[in-house]
C-alpha cells in the first residue's frame, strides 16, 4: 500500500523553507530518496506533504572557508569520494563514503539525509563525529549551528525541529600533525549495513605527545557517539601499545550494543576493542 502524498518541488532554498514553515510537523523532507522512497512505498510514511530538495543547488558544494571544510547538506556520497578537499582533509570520511552501500545508492544518497535519518548505523556519522563536525539547521526565521554529537539524540531521533532543514555540515580543517583511520565491519564488502564502524583521529605534537584524539563508534549504541573516557585517557601522553589497548578497552566498555541479525552484543563489544586498538595504532604509525 503506497502512502497518499502531496509532493512539492521548491525551486530554491527560500521556497523550501516557506513550504516547511507552512506545513510544520506535516512537512517531510525528500532528498536523495534512498530511505524515504522505500518508506513511502511500504506505506510507513504518514506525513502529508513531501518537500523535494533534490534540485536545490544551494545545498550542493564542498569548499574550504575560514579554517573549516564546509559541505552542502545535499552533497552526495559519490561527491565525497571524488572531491580533492575530502581526500586531503577528511580521509576518514572518504573511506566511509567508499564503503557506503553501493555506487548506485551513493549517487543519490546525501550526507544530510544520512544524518537526519539518524540510524545508529549511519555510515557518515562516525567519521564526521571524529572530525568534530557541526551541522547547520535553517528555518524561515533562524539559523543555528550545533555539534553533530548533540544533533543525533537517539534511534532515529534528532534535534531537527519542524520547519527546519539541514543546509550544511562543517568541521575544522584538521592539523597537519593529525591522522585518522576508519573501519567498517559488515557481513559482506558491498551493500552492507554496518555490524559496527569506527573512526579515530589522533593529533601528536613534535615530541610525539598526544594533543587530541577522537574515537567515534557506530552501530554499537542507540546513536553514533564519541568514546570520551577513552579519549581522555590518551590526552597529554605518549601513545604506546599498552595505553592504546587500555583506551580500546574503555571504548568497548562505553558501548551499549544490541543482538540483531548482523551480530550479537557480545561480539560487537569485543570487536570494538580490537578495532579501536588497530585504528589508533595505525593513526600513530602514520604520524611517526
Amino acid at each position: 500500500m503506497q502512502s497518499e502524498i502531496e509532493l512539492h518541488h521548491p525551486k530554491n532554498l527560500a521556497e523550501a523553507l516557506t513550504l516547511l514553515s507552512h506545513y510544520g510537523p506535516d512537512g517531510k523532507l525528500l532528498a536523495g530518496g534512498t530511505n524515504m522512497v522505500v518508506e513511502l512505498r511500504d506505506g510507513h510514511y504518514n506525513g502529508k506533504s513531501l518537500v523535494d530538495l533534490s534540485h536545490l543547488e544551494e545545498l550542493r558544494g564542498i569548499s574550504k572557508q575560514d579554517g573549516y571544510i564546509v559541505i552542502g547538506g545535499g552533497t552526495t556520497i559519490t561527491e565525497l569520494i571524488d572531491h580533492p578537499l575530502i581526500g586531503a582533509h577528511a580521509g576518514v570520511l572518504k573511506e566511509a563514503a567508499r564503503l557506503f552501500a553501493n555506487p548506485l545508492v551513493r549517487n543519490r544518497a546525501t550526507v544530510a539525509g544520512n544524518l537526519v535519518d539518524a540510524s545508529p548505523a549511519a555510515d557518515t556519522a562516525p567519521p564526521l563525529l571524529a572530525l568534530n563536525a557541526e551541522v547547520q539547521l535553517m528555518s524561515q526565521t533562524a539559523t543555528r549551528w550545533i555539534k553533530l554529537e548533540d544533533f543525533i539524540t537517539g534511534v532515529r531521533k534528532t534535534l531537527l525541529q519542524p520547519g527546519e532543514l539541514m543546509v550544511a555540515i562543517r568541521w575544522p580543517v584538521p592539523s597537519a600533525r593529525s591522522a585518522g583511520a576508519y573501519t567498517k565491519v559488515g557481513l559482506r564488502k558491498a551493500d552492507a549495513i554496518s555490524v559496527l564502524s569506527a573512526a579515530v583521529m589522533v593529533e601528536l605534537d613534535d615530541a610525539g605527545v598526544c594533543q587530541q584524539t577522537s574515537i567515534a563508534l557506530g552501530a554499537v549504541s542507540p546513536k553514533p557517539f564519541r568514546a570520551h573516557a577513552a579519549e581522555a585517557l590518551l590526552k597529554g601522553k605518549v601513545l604506546d601499545s599498552a595505553l592504546i589497548a587500555e583506551a580500546a578497552r574503555l571504548a568497548a566498555e562505553s558501548t551499549r550494543p544490541i543482538d540483531d541479525i548482523r551480530g550479537t552484543a557480545a561480539y560487537r563489544k569485543r570487536v570494538v576493542a580490537v578495532t579501536v586498538r588497530r585504528l589508533l595504532t595505525k593513526a600513530v604509525e602514520v604520524l611517526k
Binding site: 518541488h9 525528500l30 530518496g33 522512497v37 512505498r41 555506487p103 548506485l104 545508492v105 549517487n107
Partner: protein, 160 residues
C-alpha cells in the same frame, strides 16, 4: 491524490505523463513500455532497475518519477539497436554474461558508468562498480570478462 503532469525524455523520445506523485520512476518507465528496466527488490539493493538520470547511474526504484521531471533518462536498451549494438551489449552476449537476463540491463548501466570515467578498469574496479547489482545466476566471472572485453573494443576505436 492529485495527479502531476511531468515530462520525461527517455532514450531520445519525449513523453508527457500524468501520474500520482508517489509513483517511482521505475513504475513510470515500465508503464511507458521500457520493460528493459527490471523491477527487483525495489529498495536499492539489487540494481536491476538502474538507469542513467541526467548522466548519473541511479536505481529508478529510489527516485520518484516527479523528481525526474524534465530529466534525460537513458535505459540499457537505449544504448544501441539490434543493428548497431553498444560494445557492452555485444560483449555481454559474446561472453555468455547473460543467463536469465534479469540483472543484465542494470549490469550494463553500471558497467557503462564505470567505463565513462575509467576506460581501462581493473577487475577489482569492475567488481566495485557492479557491487550494487545482484546476479542470482552468479555469472559474475563472465560479466567481468564482458566488461573487460568491451573496454578493449571501445579503446580500439569502437563507439562509446
Amino acid at each position: 491524490m492529485k495527479p502531476q503532469m511531468i515530462t520525461l525524455h527517455i532514450n531520445g523520445r519525449t513523453h508527457y505523463v500524468a501520474l500520482n506523485p508517489n509513483l517511482t520512476l521505475l513504475v513510470a518507465l515500465r508503464d511507458l513500455g521500457y520493460t528493459d528496466v527490471k523491477s527487483g527488490c525495489e529498495k536499492g539493493d539489487c540494481g536491476a532497475c538502474a538507469v542513467f538520470l541526467n548522466g548519473v547511474a541511479v536505481n529508478s526504484c529510489l527516485v520518484l518519477a516527479a523528481q525526474a521531471d524534465e530529466g534525460e533518462i537513458l535505459t540499457a536498451a537505449g544504448l544501441g539497436t539490434s543493428e548497431h549494438p553498444h560494445p557492452l551489449q555485444t560483449a555481454f552476449s559474446d561472453a555468455g554474461a547473460i543467463q536469465c537476463g534479469y540483472c543484465t540491463p542494470g549490469m550494463i548501466i553500471s558497467a557503462k558508468a564505470l567505463l565513462d570515467h575509467k576506460p581501462h578498469p581493473t577487475d577489482a574496479e569492475i567488481r566495485d562498480a557492479i557491487s550494487g547489482n545482484l546476479c542470482r545466476c552468479t555469472g559474475y566471472a563472465q560479466i567481468i570478462q564482458a566488461v573487460q572485453s568491451a573496454a578493449e573494443k571501445m579503446d580500439a576505436g569502437g563507439e562509446g
